[in-house]
Amino acid sequence: MSDPILSVHDLTIDIPMGQGTMHAVRGIGFDLKRGETLCIVGESGSGKSLTSLAIMGLLPKNLKRAASRLEFARIDLQHQKPRQMRDLRGNRMAMIFQEPMTSLNPAYTIGDQLEEAYLLHNKTGRAEARARAVALLGKVGITAAESRLSQYPHQLSGGLRQRVMIAMALMCAPELIIADEPTTALDVTIQAQILRLLADLQREMNMAMILVTHDLGVVARIADKVAVMYAGEVVEQGTAQEIFRHPRHPYTRGLLRCIPVPGKTKPGEHLGSIPGIVPSLIGRMEGCAFRTRCDVAEAACASAVPERHTETGHAWRCIHENEGHENEGRVPA
């Protein structure tokens, strides 16, 4: 098998705060190969976006990042100068945000922004950049692409803006693309279109993709691998099959019981729930962070929790093996 294009080992992100340090991301890791899609799923505040920003080198200055390994295409990202990171971003690795207006400049036309993204990293003329912009706009399903080039972002609908963002991220044919909740703000029909588009382009261009989302339906449909985050940790990871058919961690199991599944949950019946709230991540953390909400917690959960895994790489952190769970038939067989 080929080397991973992205290796993240023991990543931590600390945020200095008045009352102490917040350990927002606490020793997470995963590897990603070319052509693979990893979905990071978890509740809001679990550290998904910070993880994405840490890989891209876009964390706010006051946040502290550390890792035993953070490599992209064998480049050690921890020892890159800011301008080397800038060269990588938008060129070999690119990011798509939830709100397209955070990346689109309202004062410039779509064409200018797409071309600029290309010219920044390629020593070619405007004509070639323009041709590529038109080709990519067509690829992301924008009709009459030529005429869109002279439009400004505010003249486009949310769904179209998100497509422009994707086109912009693809201008330099990146090897890694990180999409943070790219469809959360969109209508379900547009969401399906955009996700399909991303999946197709990713396959066609053999990119590695990280998709951050809290929507389990999106995860199931698009992921090769899944990392489930809770309170700054990856509590379980494995293939989409493993995570949805044989979830091992009580939190993953809990999440899957919370969502209504057409054809599986009976209309009107009580859905599962995870009572309680996420613990504060300020100060020293010990034991399993999920223990305040876990229905199978024991005294041992307050001290170090073992990481378990199968031969296939399915890994989870829990004192229990949690075998034999078929997710109560919630996932269509």
Binding site: E43, S44, L160, V188, T189
Partner: protein
Amino acid sequence: MSEQATASILELAAITKTYQVKQGMFAAAKPLHALGGVSLRINRKDVVGLVGESGCGKSTLAKILLGLEAPTTGKVLVDGAEIGPRERRLLARRIQPIFQDPYSSLNPRKSIEDIIALPLVVHNVGDHASRMQAVTKMLDLVGLPARVRRGYPSQLSGGQRQRVAIARALIMKPEIVICDEPTSALDVSVQSQILNLLGDLRQELGLTYLFISHNLAVVEHLATRVAVMYLGQIVEEAPAAELFAGPRHPYTQALLDSVLTPDPALSVPDTHLGAAYPNPISPPSGCRFHPRCAQARAACKTTPPPHVVGAGGHVDCHLYGAATN
């Protein structure tokens, strides 16, 4: 469904709502038809799910039902009697809202008990002592610990805030609750708690809901009837079980196709839907959906579709023949 004629608690009859919008500083205002003739009947104890894409008019409809906006033309009937501007205030006692964003819909400077008691104050119900008693009852009903009552919204989680919003809506003992995306800002673990609560309250208090949501799995879970809106019109309305088992309107079909069940064996579906959301200021001719419809025929471009009434509901589409009313 046979008692439909008598049991309707709330009815919208041919409601239109037109806003005047300017598209530039010096441009003349143009009419935007947010609602183009909406008729909808809500029966007692029904949960009517209202679905459709962003901007199609769902919230406008909710605001008209709540008396926050007046319709341009058309009637709102409660228990069969027409409601005019004067009755709107009274209506607020019977219809209460729960909005999407539990973060911005609560006043950050007011204590939780003041927020929940506010409708009683506005409508001059009871004295302070009786209001505080009512708050105690509500906290219990929505599953909030009594200690939060003196606290402020910023001290609560998203789910707890939505419980406060529900308590505030129910303190007037309304019969009808209009829920506009009540769980879309919440995490799934919190969403399920709120959905369970809404279901329980409906049983306990005999409530009727209009439930607006983008999440079709949630609507399927909760709704007894579903109305599908497209560009200011209800294009299909039917009992929930029927609509989800056999969607008839091509737009309803596309909506259901785009539901992503958590099945790792499936990929992202093709909705066979054009991407271009039409401009509500100049809606397409004929059937408003025709530029995106995979099943459109010649007549669809020129002729508005017939209103085809079937057993349990209706569909507005040329595929289903001529009008029957």
